[in-house]
Symmetry: C2
């Protein structure tokens, strides 16, 4: 099911060509840093890894680095990684790879030119205008999955809201099962320990109808690894790097560098730190399994220096994003960036910050854009309404990925000859043949005039978005899955639960 | 006076470098049409001018075209303009020129790389949250001038709201006097007949302290000429093209092509029509005075095909804008584009449409972006609050025009060595030296957390903007003008009024 807009009844002859499920970025990647400074940032990051090192809390991870020749101080847990080790890792990391969805339409390629959107993720709370702001629940998690599944422009599942009503040792069962039954898109999995990870992999393999042996030969899910900036990889993250690499699943390795707080106050300095940490993670993954799929991750914004609060969609966020894209291309790796807003409600600030960050990602050439829709409060809330208003922007961007029709017929010479000066084109044959599919049909925008709009109650975009998400949820039809899958997953979860589940590591 | 943000107290050592008054677009102009199709569109437009012609309602204008060798049918008022005439006109139009403000800081260059913002213009109504939506008045016009004057990122005055409480034969006295006394930026003048235009020129010359002879040797003001799409130049617009060209003042020649209504339903077809009309206007201006400053104008969006209502900030608006930029560069002329929103209030739709259109303009390489802030209802209202929330985006874009600091000190190697894993950079020497000027200080964004924001009354961005514009108006200080200017302008207006003013032509 694809929701694009209201009452679309495009005829076959001039149907819109846009395929929201498969986007290629139409824009030339931009540069805000000179090529020689990108090289200097890369070399500075190598210096940091070699000279200052990373603190790596997981002994297994330290051993892997040590086995590759890194200098490890077991007392301080500091790992000094030589540039030759990093270079070898970079040479084994794939430049492009396929991640398999539940149906071929949902397979995605993460590589040059790809433009993939992932919803706002990792939020402890959810909010909507009907029920207010509240802690995340499995019911809300499932609703937001249904919303994401209903729009082709969302390419990868996210972890919209943390289902705090499910015990932590059982939570992964609930979230993975929901993703496999309510969506056919690539699941998003948290790396919270080996046992959880492999249980998640087993459930996905069950859903996709492959053995674990076949599962580890291809990528079927993604996880985000956040380093603890500055310069630390904690136990779950180190374990996740190893587990997902060994399983051949996608590691999106993202230092979360807020300039001025966990990273230097300059954008260039934050990029140096981010680059060092990302290289450390990529290196561990490649050492754990050469050739495993990794994505260079950046989420570089700044804090408000008066309060320490995170800011989003700022000029510094934009510059850091474009600069990170330059670094990713320098490495030749796929790249993930992040959007979002620090606003507390779905107002003009929220819209503007999100879109500003989005353009930084698009113009930087990001392949995966996380938090592309629905993120408020710098990620503390997932908003149902903001998800819809942000989707309007994502769909508009998706339309730009199809070049405008520009053949001779599109030049409309006959129509221009047909319509006399002072006339209009409404009735021209050229218009009549094309008007149904001519323009993007808005999902939520209201184009009525002020009088009509006032008479109808002066409903704002965010208020209208409530009707949209409610209609989408009411109309939702789960994707068809193979017969017996729901029962098989239930069985798996029941057995796992009986065996004590899998508590997250920390 | 420059308003950038709250409580900025940047020290001299690491002050922010951004000069909002002089911006150079940092982005590579993008292409959505192939070079050969841009050439095809240009040739199609030449065919239209030659074969179908333009209806030109002003006899003086037809005579000028005829004198240059165009075929004129006086009965139908149709003018057929040969491609050689157009080519000659294009060769005399300047590729870059200076427009003089009231002080050197406000001089602007309209040419390659320039990025100039002009507020929302031409609105019959104004609206703000305190006083509601109402017809434009001279008081509102003056207030919006004060707002524009207070922010360096607004480079050119606009005609924010039509002062409907001033009789039409005296209105230009009020608006031009207000611009000359309340701002030092380049005035925006309506072309509403020869008498009005020359009275406006005389007032500007008086303010700038130059004779009329010297006035016509340089550009001191702008006007926007809208053709009556399709294919018509009416009497005031034809007269304006001649008057402003003869006076050497800036003609921004902008067909307003709403695809599906006054222009073909395809973006490419609307571009063909727009291009033909712009070329017709540019040709008339150059025939009236070779070398007079002209700007290739585009404002190409689409209508909602169900209601006929204009839509703004759509994918088609974006594509048409980028395509128009390609056409302007093909001609080698400065280029003006348009932003705006169809929304009826300052909500997420309004923010998103405006910013989406803005990025089309920036990525198309527009030199002058009109309606960059404050436009609601596709131009039927100028919103004080939206002016502020849009300004936040313009200021953020302006920040991007200064490259990030990327010298060795900015790489922050010492700070990264100083801060241990798991620590933070708040107290690092590198941070302490730079934190004051490190980040863009928001004008209106609220970065407080949800609890603080709720406790403070859950004020939205648009509501906060009310406080901002009220504070700016309360703090406003008019620019210093030469002694006696106010009295001299009063005298001029008094004499003109006594003599019957200057009714607009139609």
């Amino acid at each position: 099911m694809t929701h694009r807009g209201r009452n679309r009844d495009t005829g076959p002859s001039h149907a819109r060509a846009a395929d929201y499920a498969h986007l290629t970025n139409p824009f030339t990647p931009q540069k805000l840093f000179s090529d020689d400074r990108i090289d200097a940032i890369h070399r500075a990051a190598l210096d940091i890894l070699e000279r200052l090192g990373m603190r790596v809390l997981l002994p297994e991870a330290r051993q892997i680095y040590a086995d590759a020749g890194a200098f490890v101080d077991e007392e301080t847990a500091m790992v000094h990684i030589g540039r030759d080790i990093v270079a070898a890792a970079l040479s084994s990391a794939p430049k492009s790879f396929v991640v398999r969805g539940g149906v071929p339409k949902r397979d995605v390629v993460i590589g040059p030119g790809a433009l993939l959107f992932k919803p706002g993720s990792g939020c402890p709370n959810v909010t909507d205008l009907e029920r207010g702001r509240r802690p995340g629940t499995i019911a809300a998690y499932e609703e937001t999955l249904k919303l994401a599944q209903s729009f082709d422009v969302i390419h990868l599942n996210g972890a919209s809201a943390e289902p705090q009503d499910v015990p932590v040792h059982l939570r992964h069962y609930a979230t993975t099962k929901a993703q496999l039954l309510l969506t056919d898109k690539v699941p998003s999995i948290y790396a919270r320990g080996t046992k959880q990870s492999w249980q998640n992999f087993a459930m996905i393999a069950l859903a996709r109808g492959v053995s674990i042996e076949d599962f580890v030969d291809q990528a079927w899910c993604t996880t985000v690894i956040n380093t603890n900036s500055p310069r630390q990889i904690d136990i779950p993250m180190g374990q996740g790097l190893i587990d997902f690499a060994k399983a051949g699943q996608v590691l999106i390795i993202t230092p979360f560098c807020l300039s001025g707080a966990m990273a230097p106050v300059t954008v260039a300095g934050a990029m140096v730190l981010q680059h060092a940490e990302a290289l450390a993670g990529i290196t561990l993954a490649q050492l754990a399994r050469a050739g495993s799929p990794v994505v260079y991750g950046s989420f570089l914004s700044n804090v408000d220096m008066k309060s320490g609060a995170p800011a989003m969609g700022t000029p510094e966020h934009f510059q850091g994003t474009v600069g990170s894209g330059q670094l990713a291309r320098y490495l030749g790796l796929p790249w993930r960036s992040g959007g979002g807003s620090a606003a507390n409600s779905g107002d003009a600030q929220a819209a503007n910050e999100n879109q500003f960050a989005l353009w930084g990602s698009i113009l930087g050439g990001a392949n995966v854009i996380i938090h592309a829709a629905g993120w408020l409060e710098s990620g503390l809330s997932f908003s149902y309404e903001k998800f819809i208003t942000d989707l309007e922007v994502l769909q508009s961007v998706a339309e730009l990925c199809t070049p405008p029709v520009q053949d001779d017929a599109a030049l409309a010479m006959d129509a221009i000859a047909e319509v006399q000066p002072g006339g209009h084109f409404f009735g021209a044959a050229h218009t009549m043949e094309r008007y149904r599919g001519a323009f993007y049909a808005p999902l939520n925008a209201d184009l009525s005039n002020f009088g009509q709009w006032s008479d109808a109650g002066s409903i704002t975009a965010t208020q209208r978005a409530t009707s949209v998400w409610k209609r989408v949820l009411a109309d939702f039809e789960a994707p068809v899955v193979r017969a017996g899958l729901a029962e098989a997953l239930e069985d798996y979860v029941a057995h796992g639960t009986e065996a004590g589940g899998a508590p997250p590591v920390s």
